[in-house]
């Protein structure tokens, strides 16, 4: 069901769904009929992730998070500091270090000026590094925020803050909160999908798409970049689609008979899950089959068919959003450039080559398809990098949580602006410049999705939990 009008999608989720499927021959028509006959007066099942109205009219219907796992260096990409270059190799002025802790840095670390060249782009004059030639093309569509800050300088906890608002395990991730608040408009695919790329999985693992204390059907479903897109999606050897359908049909009939005896509506919900599973067996392979994309589109993203890559995942993200999926989160590793294997020299160039073009292509592609207005795109990592270099085999920087850069586009975000300024060395936000916590970002993105972060609560262990905990303010210049 590519990009059906909202009303039609809602129609599909209501009790008439079985009828519709039957008459339109979408998949399990005969099955649905069989189940209906057997069930007779049994109540219709309810889809636990059926769309729900937002708190107020939403700007965005779907969100794509481009998560650069490891902590990309804002100083090489977005935040140009000539003074840092001038003081290259000098010790850090003591006033910058009072009361601060760093993960790996030795006290003797010295300032590190970037070797990258910066230039202004677009009518807005956004300042971008030479590493981002493709992002330069969308300079007027994106809003850059240079004064983000977070609470923890270790990867795992900082990623959890970025995804859940809390640094300890057990809280729901952003996508789960969205599904909880809004449901999904996708009938044939999970409403919250996760895509992974890079040399290894992100630190934090499955917690980064966990439902936490929310009900388990709200968890993110990772689509795999090669082989089966969902675990156990393919029929086992010796089972073709027809056999699978006969099997599921028999299960539905027997379930319906038991429903009649026990009166337990959970049985109808079970049957509905089997039907969705069966539909996913068709729709998920269709989703990942990109043979219907034009060569021009593939080139735009830099996708090579058959090769799993970040670019490929970004294209899948667009296809997922087209199909009504609420939240797609991409993790790309590894931006942890301390020096050593992962450094600010060749390794950073490689990462930018992998990501710059597809991220830019996504915004361009959404725009020309008329989808950018209601699709929110968020680019960023769990923190940034220090103005000091690390003394390692190659050039690198340590984790920095007091000022780092993200960008947003689409979904009601006012593009073509750069928010916030850091001090001349890039340590902190400049005096008088607004700084924004991850909680503020969550409040803002929820706001664009039509949700008030103060009202999106879930009671757990005696407390009303929010993704923003007891903080969070909508970043007005972004949404105004």
């Amino acid at each position: 069901m590519p990009h059906l009008p909202l009303e039609l999608r809602q129609y599909l989720t209501n009790a008439a769904r079985r009828d519709f499927l039957y008459h339109c021959g979408l998949g399990l028509g005969s099955l649905a009929l069989g189940a209906m006959q057997a069930q007779a007066a049994a109540p219709a099942t309810s889809n636990p992730t059926a769309p729900r109205p937002p708190h107020f009219p939403a700007k965005a219907k779907g969100v794509i998070q481009l998560f650069m796992a490891g902590g990309p260096s804002q100083l090489e990409l977005f935040d140009y500091k000539p003074k840092l270059q001038a003081l290259h190799g000098k010790p850090v002025p003591q006033s910058y270090l009072e009361g601060k802790r760093f993960a790996f840095l030795k006290p003797n670390a010295t300032l590190l000026g970037t070797k990258r060249k910066f230039a202004q782009h677009g009518a807005s004059g956004a300042e971008l590094s030479e590493l981002l030639p493709h992002t330069a093309k969308i300079a007027d569509d994106i809003a850059i925020v240079r004064t983000m800050h977070t609470d923890n300088f270790n990867h795992g906890p900082a990623k959890l803050i970025a995804q859940t608002g809390f640094q300890n395990f057990g809280a729901p991730t952003f996508g789960s909160w969205l599904l909880y608040g809004l449901g999904s408009e996708s009938e044939n695919l999970p409403g919250y999908v996760v895509l992974l790329s890079g040399p290894r999985g992100p630190r934090g693992g499955a917690y980064l798409w966990s439902n936490g204390f929310l009900p388990s059907h709200l968890q993110g479903t990772p689509l795999r970049s090669s082989g089966e897109p969902i675990l156990n999606l393919a029929n086992p050897a010796g089972v073709d689609a027809a056999r699978q359908e006969r099997t599921v049909q028999t299960i539905a009939r027997l379930n319906a008979l038991r429903h009649a005896v026990t009166g337990d509506d959970e049985i109808a919900a079970r049957t509905a899950s089997y039907e969705l599973a069966f539909r996913m067996q068709t729709s998920a392979p269709e989703l990942v089959d990109i043979s219907d994309e034009t060569q021009e589109t593939l080139d735009l993203y830099g996708v090579k068919p058959g090769e799993s890559s970040f670019a490929h995942n970004v294209l899948l993200a667009r296809r997922l959003i087209e199909r009504g999926v609420r939240c797609v989160t991409l993790f790309h590793t590894d931006w942890d450039h301390h020096g050593g294997g992962e450094n600010l020299e060749g390794y950073l160039d490689k990462l930018c080559r992998e990501t710059d073009q597809p991220c830019s292509a996504l915004v361009q592609d959404l725009k020309r398809r008329g989808m950018l207005d209601d699709t929110l795109v968020v680019w960023g990592g769990e923190f940034g990098r220090t103005p000091m270099g690390e003394v390692r085999a190659t050039v690198g920087r340590d984790h920095h949580i007091d000022a780092y850069t993200i960008w947003l586009a689409g979904g009601g975000v006012r593009g073509g602006q750069t928010l916030g300024a850091t001090d001349e060395l890039g340590f902190y936000s400049e005096d008088g410049s607004d700084r924004h916590h991850v909680h503020d970002l969550h409040a803002t993105t929820l706001h664009l999705m039509g949700l008030d972060h103060e009202r999106l609560t879930f009671k757990h262990q005696g407390r009303n939990f929010k993704i923003t905990d007891v903080a969070g303010e909508v970043i007005q210049p972004l949404v105004g």
Partner: protein, 805 residues
Amino acid sequence: MLIARLFRGSLRPALVALMLVFFAAGSLRAAEPVDYARDIKPLLAANCFQCHGPDKQESDLRLDAGRSILAGGNSGPAVVPSHSDESLLIQAVEGEADVVSRMPPEDEAEPLAAEQIALLRRWIDAGAKFPEDDAPLAAKQRNVDHWSFQPIARPAPPPVTNRAWVASPIDAFVLAKLEAAQIQPSPAADRVTLIRRLSLDLIGLLPTPEEVQAFVADERPDAYERLVDRLLASPRYGERWGRLWLDQARYADSHGYTNDGPRSIWPYRDYVLHAFNRDLPFDQFTIEQLAGDLLPDATAEQIVATGFHRNTQINDEGGSDAEQYRVEAVVDRVSTTGIVFMGLTYGCARCHDHKFDPISQRNFYEMFAFFNSQDEPNYDAPLVAPNASKLPAQREEISRFAAALKALDAKADNAEQAKQELTARLDAAKKQEAAIRAREFASTMVLRERSQPRETYVHIRGEFLRKGKPVTTATPEFLPPLKPSDNSAGSVPTSRLDLARWLVADEHPLTPRVIANRQWQAFFGQGLVRTDNDFGLQGENPSHPELLDWLARSLLDHDWSLKALHREIVLSATYQQASTARPELEPIDTNNRLLARQNRLRLDAELIRDAALTAAGLLSTKMHGASVFPPQPAGVMQRTRNPGRKWNTSTGEDRYRRGLYTFFWRSTPHPFLKSFDAPDSNTACTRRERSNTPIQALTLLNDEAFVEASQMLALRLLRALPEGDDPARIDQLFRWCLCREPGSAERAAVEELVQAERQASQASKPELTFITAQQLPESVTAQEAVVWATVARAMLNLDEFMTRE
């Protein structure tokens, strides 16, 4: 009256309230008069006292005493007796009037539920009565009169009319409520349902058809009781109930956090299983797990037991601050101790005083102090009794060889060859010793008290670097006093051992109730207090307060024997009722709080797989030992920090062990467990969710382990009935999977599938992954095996198969 209210303009709330009053929808007590002390004060305490109570009186209003409610605050009286519509309190909680803003404030708490508002209205309309002696709470002693903090009563079973139904005192408590609401209990479940339910609840396994047959045919009056006792004595009982405890202990086989390296702590898991099987009294079980190392002459087992609080995560990510994560682990120990034993959300008081319960931030760090002074070593747990060990003999041999070699060395003559020979034998003996050690001991993680205790401070705003006031070990003032014992170490006035003994002291109001409630929860799917992990002011009140106290007393009277409590519960008529839905009760008792029937419950993750393996005849009954690696889909491990990490699928018997023995990687749990709501093991899980997702359907339909089970089930069937006709085979499948005979419509539905599959299989080449043609009886073709494998697969995917009814 209805029309009059409609014209007053408050249509919605008035209607809801009316419906609630007249149809008693969703309210347990709608028929009973509202009682201020029981119904109103706790409601106000939970929702209003924070700002209008002993500590704060916003707008000069306090609601913690009847008189002060009538006196009101800056806006006038909060309540006009007999006129709920005119009462500011009602206008505030309904939030639709202009004269007063919505309470509680929108950004601080959720609005009151319609039924709570209805309760307030009924109290006001009945005259807003309160006892003469109702006094405001003293500041700082707030909320201590909450029901769960009161001593446990010894209630007598209430009188009932239908005395024949009462099989246990439990039933009198349940029936009294049902009779008051004029509801009949459900009839007892039939014997087939009963034995399947009882087996799944007590040992977590399906009964065999022979066991079902024997029980159905057993005409002795105590047939059911005999069945109960047989199951309680089964070693499988420890596996079932031990697993539920391991959820609370947050047991896992890896460290968690970023790197999530493997750990060895399974001896603790085996300790738990063993404890349940020998019915170790729960008080002793608690003491050993929290402070086994401090017991005089602690046994190896008691030291292993302290692994309970070693199930915290360990962060070994480069650059992380060890102290920070040690503190996180201690915080987790405090929270877990609070939730698991006392049903108190201690964790809420880490950064500030608890907003609702009388736990201050200082109380939190006083509890923290108990867990702040331990080292976290590994311990070699002996797996064999000391007198059965082969080590002493082996060591003797080593010293013999060593001595001989020394003697030889002393002689400077030409004994080169003898020396070489002796050295080789010594080396071999040492290797042998290492092998014996590996067999006889397993490393496990334990707690050990430090000789020098750490100092404990309040952490300002929960930040471990911001030290506030120093504190020492203590328990909250509103609970019975902590008694220090003689063996307290050093400068710490009370020890972990004192804390453990205090938790299970007879006079502790919370632990016996919390533990009894959780046992009930396992047998009915929900506790008498549904918020089993929150007995504080934000928790729910018990549906049957007297029954809860009776169960808690029973637990104490039986010296904390959980088996005795389980026996009492399953022997009750309440437990034995049918679970069939009763639509006529839906409007008045939506969630079956009155227990007019049993509940139909989806099985826990591990039990679904156990059941499939049982039906297929594959299940291994081997107990204990290192965790195992049953098949899982390829590629799961690639999502970790360590993509090179392998899941080396177990072979032989270990492929078919019960689910609880599956190795648990915290960052990449076995997808089957995750899909079916097994806990993530990061924090204590006292109650599992029961979700229903398409991923579950894909798992049971397509996962290798289930495909194998369905094919092996088909093979088992075809071997048992090589010449069997279709109906006979279908009946046998029903017996193995559902323990019952099929109805005619069910048999017909399956026969249709058989026919369709036969037709389809003629056109295709038979493909079976787990069965070879040689294994099949001569009379059965491979095509026919495919047909029955498909039927078996459908059976293992039935809702009823994964449900205990």
